[in-house]
C-alpha cells in the first residue's frame, strides 16, 4: 500500500518532485480514521527501515509527507530559535526547506525532523548570507506549543551580534515616545528607518507568541504592528507593550495579540501576551520568563 519509507527530499525552490505525492488532507483523514497502521508494515512495530526515527515502537513512519507540514515545522523551529536567541539584530527568516521526514504515532502526535536554510531577517545592503539549521519538531495532536530542538550554523560572530544589539538598545533608548505610531509598516509597506528597531523588537516578542500558537495545522506570520501602548526606557531594560496582528495561514484569519516584553541586550527576554479570538484558554495567553526554561543542549551555535 505505502511505498517503503525513505527520506524524501522536500521540494526545494525548484518545485515539488513529481514522484512524491504530498497529500496533506489524505494523510490527516487517514490518521483520523484509522486505528490500523497506514504504513506498509503490519502491527504496531512501525517502520523498521527508518532507524533515525523515535525509538518508541508505537511510531509509524509517515511516508506521504505533506509539504505544508515541513514548512510549518520549519517556521515553528525558527520562531523558537529567534525567541531563544533573544537578539533583535540577528533575527532569522526561512529561506528554504531542504529535506524532512515525519513520524506519527497512535496518539496522533507528530514528529518532524528537518533541515532548512535561513536568511537574515533584516538584511543589510547586498547581504546574501544563508544559514543552515536542523531541527526536531514535536507536535502534540493539534495542540499548540510544539517541542523544539533546533541547531543552526553560525550566522554572525557573537561579538558582532552583541555589538549590534547594544547599538539597537542605545538607539531605542533615545527614541522619542512612539506612542502615536499607528502601524508599522504603514499600509504601503513603509517602515521609517528610525522605527525599524521597534519592528525588530516587536517581531522578537511575536516569535514567542507564534511559536506557542503553532500546531501541525496552524502557522503564523506577523502581519503588522498595530499600536504601541507603552514604551518605557527610563530603567535599564526596554519595557515594550504593543499590539500586533498575526496572520494565520490556513484559516486566513488576522489575530490581534497584545504583547508585553522586557528586553535588555544581556538578559533573557521576558514576554507576556494575550491574543483575541476563539481559541482554548491555554492557547490564548502565555507568560515566559526567559530564564525559566534552560535552552536545550546544542540549541544555538553562534
Amino acid at each position: 500500500m505505502q511505498p517503503l519509507p525513505q527520506a524524501l527530499p522536500a521540494p526545494g525552490p525548484g518545485g515539488p518532485r513529481p514522484a512524491a505525492p504530498l497529500l496533506a488532507l489524505l494523510l490527516l483523514l487517514a490518521l483520523r480514521g484509522s486505528a490500523a497502521a497506514p504504513a506498509g508494515s503490519e502491527g504496531p512495530q512501525g517502520s523498521a527501515a527508518a532507524p533515525e526515527g523515535p525509538q518508541d515502537s508505537a511510531w509509524q513512519r509517515d511516508s506521504e509527507l505533506p509539504h505544508g507540514l515541513l514548512q510549518r515545522a520549519a517556521r515553528a523551529a525558527l520562531h523558537f530559535f529567534n525567541f531563544r536567541a533573544g537578539s533583535p539584530s540577528a533575527l532569522r527568516g526561512l529561506a528554504a526547506v531542504q529535506q524532512g521526514r515525519a513520524w506519527i504515532n497512535s496518539k496522533k502526535e507528530c514528529q518532524v525532523d528537518l533541515e532548512f536554510t535561513t536568511e537574515h531577517y533584516n538584511p543589510e545592503e547586498g547581504e546574501e548570507r544563508l544559514g543552515k539549521c536542523s531541527a526536531q519538531v514535536f507536535f502534540k495532536n493539534e495542540k499548540p506549543r510544539p517541542t523544539i530542538n533546533v541547531t543552526c550554523t553560525r550566522f554572525m560572530e557573537k561579538s558582532k551580534r552583541q555589538q549590534e544589539d547594544y547599538l539597537l538598545y542605545k538607539h531605542m533608548k533615545q527614541l522619542k515616545d512612539p506612542l502615536d505610531v499607528i502601524s508599522i509598516p504603514d499600509s504601503h509597506g513603509h517602515i521609517d528607518p528610525s522605527l525599524r528597531p521597534i519592528w525588530d523588537l516587536a517581531f522578537l516578542g511575536s516569535s514567542y507568541v507564534m511559536w506557542e500558537k503553532t500546531t501541525q495545522f496552524l502557522h503564523y506570520y506577523m502581519a503588522q504592528l498595530s499600536s504601541v501602548k507603552q514604551w518605557k526606557t527610563d530603567e535599564d531594560a526596554i519595557d515594550f507593550d504593543y499590539t500586533v496582528l498575526l496572520h494565520e495561514f490556513s484559516t486566513q484569519e488576522i489575530i490581534p495579540c497584545r504583547i508585553h516584553l522586557v528586553w535588555h541586550p544581556s538578559k533573557p527576554l521576558k514576554v507576556k501576551y494575550h491574543c483575541q479570538g476563539p481559541q482554548a484558554p491555554e492557547e490564548a495567553s502565555g507568560i515566559e520568563e526567559g530564564s525559566a526554561a534552560a535552552p536545550t543542549t546544542g540549541l544555538t551555535n553562534y
Binding site: P16, P21, G93, I191
Partner: protein
C-alpha cells in the same frame, strides 16, 4: 447615496460616444466616489511603482483606453455588492482572424495590493511594447488579453479606508451583523466542500450558495460565455511566491497535469532569472492546503486548459503589506513568468512544428491562412 452615484457613474460610461465621454465630469464623480483620488493628467506621470486607490485605478483605465484606442477597449463586467462598476480592459490587435483569449484578474482578495499593481504593470508593458517587441506582437496576433485590474473592488476600497488586512467582499449577512464573502471560495466547483467556512464571520466564508456574490457572478457568467475561446485563466494573489495549478478541492490531478507542471516550472525559472526570487510550483492542495470553490479550479473544470493562481511576493516578512519599493522588481519578475506561460500557450496552438498538438479547427485555419499569405 452610493448606489445612486454608482448608477450615475455607470451611465456616464455608457452614454453614446461615451467611451470618449467628458473626462472632467467623470473626474468629479470619481472624486465623490473615492475621496482619495489624485488626478493624473497623463499616463506619462502615472507611477506604476506605487499603490493606487480605486478612484485612481478607474482613472488609469480611462487614460489607457484613450491613449491606445486602436488596441484597447474598456468593458463593463457587472456591479459589485456596493454597486460599483467592474471593468475589464480588452487588449486586441484588430485582425480578420478569430482570436483566443487570455484572462487575467487581480485583487480577488482585498488586502493583496501587489496583485492589482501587477495587473496595471502588465497592461502597461503590453501596450508600451506591442509595436516594437516581436514576442508580444506575436502573442497579439492570435490572442486577446482581457485584464480585470481589481475584482473585489468593494473590499479593496475597504482596505484603503478602514481595515488594511481585510480579505473578503463587503456583502452584508445576518441582518448586517456579518460582512463579506471569500470570493475565491464562492465559485461553483465543489462549493464549500472543504477548507471553507459556513460561518459568515470567518475569513474563508464561502457565501450563502455557489456564486451567491455579484462579483463572482459577473466573472463566472462572462467566462462561461467565452469559455470555448479562453485558453488561459490567470488569477493573481499574494503572498507566498507560488505558481499553483488545479486542484485545491481534491487530490486528483487534472488531465493535463504534467503539462501544467512543465509550463509552470518554466515560468518559475524565468521568474527566478530576473531577480533570484524562488517560487514553488505545484497543485494547490499539495503545496498550500485544501480549499474549494476557487476561480482557478472552476475555470479548469469548465474546460479552460491553462489555469493558474499566482501568489506573488513575499514569503511572510511583510506579507500583504509589501513595501512599494518592491513593486517594480515583483512586477518585472512576474511579467517574465506570465510571458513564459503565454509563449508556451502560443506555441502549443499556433507553432507549426507542434502540428500534432493542434486540436481546434480555428487554429488549423489560422495556420492555413498564414501559409496562404506567403504566396
Amino acid at each position: 447615496m452610493k448606489p445612486l452615484l454608482g448608477t450615475l457613474y455607470l451611465l456616464g460610461m455608457l452614454v453614446p460616444g461615451g467611451l470618449g465621454y467628458d473626462r472632467s465630469q467623470a473626474q468629479r464623480r470619481q472624486e465623490v466616489v473615492d475621496k482619495t483620488a489624485t488626478p493624473w493628467s497623463s499616463l506619462e506621470t502615472y507611477p506604476y511603482n506605487r499603490y493606487h486607490p480605486m478612484g485612481e485605478i478607474y482613472q488609469w483605465m480611462s487614460l489607457i483606453r484613450e491613449k491606445y484606442p486602436e488596441v484597447v477597449t474598456q468593458h463593463f463586467l457587472g456591479m459589485t455588492y456596493e454597486t460599483r462598476p467592474m471593468y475589464y480592459l480588452k487588449i486586441s490587435q484588430p485582425s480578420n482572424s478569430p482570436k483566443k483569449i487570455i484572462w487575467m484578474d487581480c485583487g480577488i482578495h482585498a488586502r493583496e495590493w501587489i496583485a492589482p499593481a501587477f495587473c496595471q504593470w502588465f497592461v502597461r508593458e503590453i501596450l508600451q511594447n506591442y509595436q516594437d517587441n516581436s514576442r508580444i506582437r506575436r502573442l497579439l496576433k492570435n490572442l486577446d488579453f482581457y485584464v480585470l485590474p481589481v475584482l473585489n473592488i468593494d473590499g479593496y476600497i475597504y482596505t484603503w479606508t478602514t481595515d488594511r488586512l481585510w480579505r473578503k467582499s463587503r456583502s452584508s449577512h445576518n441582518n448586517g451583523t456579518c460582512f463579506g464573502t471569500d470570493l475565491n471560495q464562492n465559485f461553483n466547483v465543489s462549493w464549500c466542500s472543504i477548507g471553507a467556512s459556513k460561518n459568515c464571520s470567518d475569513s474563508t466564508f464561502c457565501g450563502t450558495e455557489p456564486v451567491s456574490e455579484p462579483e463572482t457572478k459577473a466573472v463566472s457568467s462572462f467566462i462561461e460565455s467565452k469559455k470555448e475561446d479562453v485558453l488561459c485563466f490567470l488569477t493573481i494573489h499574494s503572498y507566498g511566491q507560488l505558481i499553483l495549478m488545479p486542484y485545491g478541492y481534491t487530490k486528483n490531478k487534472p488531465s493535463n497535469y504534467k503539462e501544467l507542471i512543465q509550463v509552470g516550472q518554466k515560468a518559475a525559472n524565468a521568474l527566478k532569472a530576473k531577480h533570484g526570487t524562488n517560487y514553488r510550483v505545484g497543485s494547490s492542495i499539495d503545496i498550500l492546503y485544501a480549499t474549494s470553490g476557487s476561480s482557478r479550479d472552476w475555470a479548469r473544470d469548465i474546460g479552460i486548459p491553462f489555469s493558474y493562481t499566482f501568489e506573488l511576493r513575499d514569503n511572510g516578512t511583510y506579507g500583504f503589506v509589501l513595501p512599494e519599493a518592491q513593486i517594480q522588481a515583483t512586477c518585472e519578475e512576474t511579467m517574465a513568468a506570465v510571458l513564459s506561460i503565454l509563449d508556451d500557450v502560443y506555441e502549443k496552438y499556433w507553432y507549426s512544428n507542434s502540428a500534432g498538438k493542434v486540436t481546434s479547427t480555428t487554429a488549423v485555419l489560422s495556420l492555413l491562412m498564414s501559409f496562404r499569405s506567403l504566396f
